[in-house]
Amino acid sequence: MRLIQHHPGLPWPRLQRDEKVACEFCDAVQSAPRLREGEAAFCVHCGELLYQNRPNSLSRATGFSIAALIFMGMAHSFPFLSMSAAGNRNELTLIGCVEALAADDAPLLACLCLIFTVIAPLLLTTALLYLCGPLMIGRALPGAKQVARALQASEPWSMLEVFLLGFIVSLMKLGDVAEIQFHIGLAALVAVVVSIAGATGGIDRRELWDRLELANAR
């Protein structure tokens, strides 16, 4: 029997030394080399990225997802900006956008907005934290497989960075028709976008699954 050892500090472990991988783009089977931190493996046939060993992957993913959750709380508590014109004062928040769409008889659009800017980013970061935090001590919490699959499913639908660009375009569109004041929520939103990028880019999907398999095998 092979003794499976897990050292959280060591580079990405693999279950079997002779494990093979197939390229996701061309299906070529090849050996999976053990990588040093910061290295990446590419397909011998088509040259696509196979997987990479991100430096300090677990602590990075955990740290950034905690940061993302904190900033998310701030982004929801404070408005991004307020606009005053003709005695009216309106504040912009993520939930405010959803409510405004729902109030204007666009319930489907409101739902989509809620999914893209609130639910998917929240699901993404909590799932990453739920997986990577315990993996730092080599453990997997119950339901880790389902959570990892939910994480992968939510990834393409988290669109806060697109929302941020939309925000910039909206500002340019409004031009100088109104008096605009920026608030702390905007800084929090930028921080959320940066943190989510750091968290999702912090760990390779194959590494996450390898580590989960190892933790489940204990």
């Binding site: 093979k20 991988v21 197939a22 996701e24 783009f25 061309c26 299906d27 070529a28 089977v29 011998v44 046939h45 088509c46 040259g47 696509e48 997987y51 900006l81 606009m83 014109a85 003709a86 009216n88 309106n90 912009l92 928040t93 405010g96 956008c97 959803v98 405004a100 769409l101 204007d104 008889d105 666009a106 489907l108 659009l109 989509l112 907005c113 893209f116 800017t117 497989k145 389902q146 990892a148 699959r149 992968q152 393409p156 669109m159 697109v162 929302f163 660009l165 939309g166 925000f167 375009v169 909206s170 340019m172 569109k173 409004l174 031009g175 999907r205 194959r206 699954w209 989960l212 398999e213």
Partner: protein, 204 residues
């Protein structure tokens, strides 16, 4: 380099979710529990169906008003294109260019590129594997940015509620356009790039 061996030829399925290699006779991946397939099921049929649906929805997305601006005594519903033209004429070139790119260039190019990839996978058009793979990557990365327009509508609807002076409400094109973006994203996800290399292997 010697020709590599391919997983499907050895009866091995690589999991779409976690990347683990399993015998294709297993129905579910032993590591993550996802369903195993040698290739994404009905990849081409699904991609084509989603593309057709997105083309159908692109028509109302472009021809109906994307948001209604109502002010003192006037009501104005502009389409995405009329908005681009207005901003261009006003000299707001960055806004015009960003909106035109996000709402016209990216979706149209994405639909054309995916249709081209489907044709290439059935061998109707040529193209080297590398160039086609690059096309696939670009459509995957760039597609989500089309959603800018929908968020602009959401933000303006939230901010511009100035009673009788000026109020912006979402138009029917906003939902159509969001659906176009979602459908093209789903089409890109259901396309299996391995079909391109399968084709190349069979023809060479």
């Amino acid at each position: 380099m010697s020709t590599p061996s391919f997983a499907a030829d050895q009866g091995l399925a690589s999991c779409h979710t976690c990347g683990r290699l399993s015998p294709a006779t297993d129905h579910h991946c032993r590591r993550c529990g996802a369903k195993l397939h040698l290739r994404k099921p009905n990849s081409l049929a699904r991609t084509v169906a989603l593309l057709l649906a997105s083309i159908a929805l692109y028509v109302p997305a472009m021809s109906l008003p994307v948001m209604n601006v109502s002010g003192i005594g006037s009501e104005d519903g502009g389409t995405i294109i009329s908005g681009v033209i207005t901003f261009w004429e006003m000299g707001s070139y960055p806004v015009a260019i960003i909106i035109f790119t996000a709402s016209v260039i990216i979706p149209v190019l994405k639909i054309v590129a995916l249709a081209w990839l489907c044709l290439a996978a059935t061998g109707k058009v040529g193209g080297t594997g590398h160039r086609l793979a690059l096309t696939y990557h670009v459509t995957e990365i760039v597609g989500r940015w089309s959603m800018i327009d929908v968020f602009v509508v959401a933000i303006l609807v939230c901010l511009v509620r100035l009673g009788t002076l000026m109020t912006i409400t979402p138009g029917p094109a906003a939902l159509s356009f969001a659906s176009v973006v979602i459908l093209t994203m789903l089409a890109a996800m259901s396309f299996d790039p391995r079909l391109l290399w399968d084709r190349q292997r069979r023809t060479s």
